[in-house]
């Protein structure tokens, strides 16, 4: 490593270094500082110590929005993962017209949030919706998707599964990297389909699974746009009021930026905790290729 290389290396990396300092380090520290103040953006921040955090821990809506978010993560991430892997495995069978199928599964992820939200307001509509029409055809009483506090969350989970195309594409790429020789060896051992999946496929793509699951958790924890459009105010009765919705309202509707910053840091702490748990669990189960 010579001096010239070091200089050029840092020079090339400088956009990111600057970006890292300006858009990440500074906001993180600033947000921590703001969280210790009462900051209503029209007046300079006033230091109030840990009062925001104390208030947060007594705030019913904080717990409601947090539990809504965690429930959503617990539902959306595993289900999307299973569906995405399943679809990728189907696509990996090298049937004809693969690129058409691939596009069709990927298409939903290209739809902007507002359009998605309003489209699904339609699909899940109690009287006129697509989904309930199907239910009525088979004479089953459908749940009240949009009006029932329990089912509203499931609506959002189903929508997230529908949007698993991005993860699916990454899984597909991972599957295509699995050496065929391993499958052939399993075949010779007389392994059936499920056994092959369990002992060859899953372990071989486990790093990809880990990556997608972590990205999935991080993304799901921040859900905002679709509920904003479909369930204003977290209707019905705050059952779809998520953490970021409450954070946004505090910052921009109620002018409580200090309080919102405290919420942001709590979210950060929870996200890191969940990610660390995922990583620790993965040590036992994830199989890495020798580099």
């Amino acid at each position: 490593m010579n001096k010239r290389d070091a200089r050029i290396g840092i020079l090339f990396a400088s956009p990111w270094i600057l970006g890292f300092l300006i858009f990440l380090t500074y906001p993180l520290i600033a947000s921590l500082v703001y969280s210790l103040t009462n900051f209503s953006i029209l007046r300079p921040p006033k230091y109030i110590g840990f009062q925001n955090y104390r208030e947060l821990f007594h705030d019913q809506v904080f717990y409601t929005s947090l539990s809504n978010t965690l429930l959503y993560v617990a539902g959306a991430v595993p289900l999307s993962t299973i569906v995405a892997i399943g679809l990728a495995m189907l696509l990996n069978t090298k049937v004809k017209g693969m690129s058409i199928y691939r596009t069709m599964f990927f298409l939903p992820t290209l739809v902007p949030m507002v359009a998605l939200g309003t489209l699904f307001l339609w699909v899940f509509n109690g009287d006129y919706g697509l989904l309930n029409a199907a239910f009525h055809k088979v004479n089953v009483t459908p749940p009240n998707w949009l009006g029932d506090p329990t089912w509203a969350k499931w609506t959002l989970i189903l929508i997230s599964i529908w949007g698993c195309g991005q993860a699916m594409v990454i899984y597909l790429a991972g599957l295509q990297d699995v050496p065929v020789s391993l499958y052939e060896a399993a075949d010779l051992d007389g392994a059936k389909a499920w056994a092959k999946t369990k002992s060859v496929t899953i372990p071989m793509i486990s790093p990809v699974i880990l990556f997608n699951v972590i990205m999935g958790i991080i993304g799901a924890m921040q859900i905002f746009a679709v509920p904003y459009v479909m369930f204003p105010g977290g209707a019905p009765a705050r059952s779809t009021y998520f953490y970021t919705s409450y954070l946004y309202d505090n910052a921009f509707q109620y002018q409580r930026m200090g309080y919102a910053s405290a919420m942001g840091w709590v979210l950060f702490a929870i996200t890191i905790t969940l990610t660390t748990i995922a990583l620790k669990l993965s040590d036992k189960h994830v199989h890495y290729e020798a580099n």
Binding site: I10, S99, P112, T118, A133, V208, T244, G264
Partner: protein, 294 residues
């Protein structure tokens, strides 16, 4: 060959054929399921308003109001007032163009530095970079807003594309993995020829990285085109809105919505993305595959 061997390979063949047929059936059913809501969107877009809400839902409109697409982008619709769809489209194109350009440029060069130049603290900093992907957007949202406010950029497009010129963790990660698959010998040969690091980057590595750069470009494009929270916070005057934000204008604030026009507008908004994706598909998949997210 003995009888048992022939029948064994036959049965394996039959198994394989059955599997492929089953896969076909599953794929057809599932892909229809996935695309169904979008077809519904298209069908609703061309319906007269009275047919958008019927029990049971109508798939085929009684008349195909292709004019709805024109109405959706018309400047002064009777029902909704002034919705400058084309203005929103122009704004979105400007912002997306800048974001994609900045993203490709900055990520290409930054990832190169992580992958192919040795400098002190490089690997530690890379781990930190990965860790930054864990920082949820809401945490930095408020101070970043305050920063842009201090710069006087709130109400302009700048907060939506300037950060793209400073690279992003995800794209750095993707590109770095890709660059590492390019043999160092190529760089070394160029060095012996007297090329500067920059020339190696532009003449040797970059041309080989097209698939991966396409992936970065495509992800950035989709992110910028569909971004909702950013424009919501930073754009003020209605004439500066983007499409994703402007679609909300079709949703009346006071209940009830011009559904068919909203769906028509949404179809128009999705169209460019679908077109871009369709043509870039192969390169895109190739890019992800070779970047090896492992």
């Amino acid at each position: 060959m003995s009888q048992t061997n022939i029948s064994r390979s036959q049965s394996l063949q039959n198994q394989k054929r059955f599997k492929i047929a089953a896969a076909h059936v599953a794929l057809v059913l599932l892909s229809i399921l996935f695309v169904l809501p979008l077809i519904w969107m298209l069908s609703t877009a061309v319906k007269p308003i009275g047919e958008t809400m019927t029990t049971p839902p109508r798939w085929i409109p009684s008349q195909f109001l292709w004019g709805n697409f024109k109405d959706a982008i018309a400047y002064d619709s009777k029902e909704l007032g002034y919705i400058p769809f084309l203005v929103y489209a122009r704004n979105t194109i400007i912002i997306t163009l800048l974001a994609v350009g900045g993203s490709v440029l900055s990520n290409a060069i930054v990832a190169y530095s992580f992958a192919r130049i040795k400098w002190p603290g490089r690997d530690l900093f890379f781990s930190i970079t990965l860790a930054t992907m864990m920082v949820p957007f809401p945490v930095t949202m408020v101070p970043t807003f305050a920063l842009f406010k201090w710069l006087g950029w709130v109400g302009t497009f700048k907060p939506l594309w300037v950060p793209a010129f400073f690279a992003s963790a995800f794209s750095i990660f993707l590109l770095r993995q890709f660059y590492r698959t390019i043999p160092m010998e190529l760089s070394e040969a160029a060095k012996i020829d007297g090329c500067s690091e920059f020339r190696i980057f532009t003449d040797v590595v970059a041309p080989l990285s097209r698939p991966a750069l396409m992936v970065v470009a495509l992800f950035t494009f989709m992110g910028a085109w569909n971004d909702f929270l950013g424009p919501l916070i930073y754009l003020v005057d209605q004439k500066t809105f983007t499409l994703s934000l402007g679609l909300q204008a079709y949703q009346s604030q006071h209940g009830g919505t011009q559904w068919n026009l909203l769906m028509a507008a949404s179809c128009l908004v999705i169209l460019p993305v679908i077109v871009v994706f369709f043509f870039a598909q192969k390169v895109f998949i190739q890019g992800i595959a070779t970047s090896g997210l492992k």
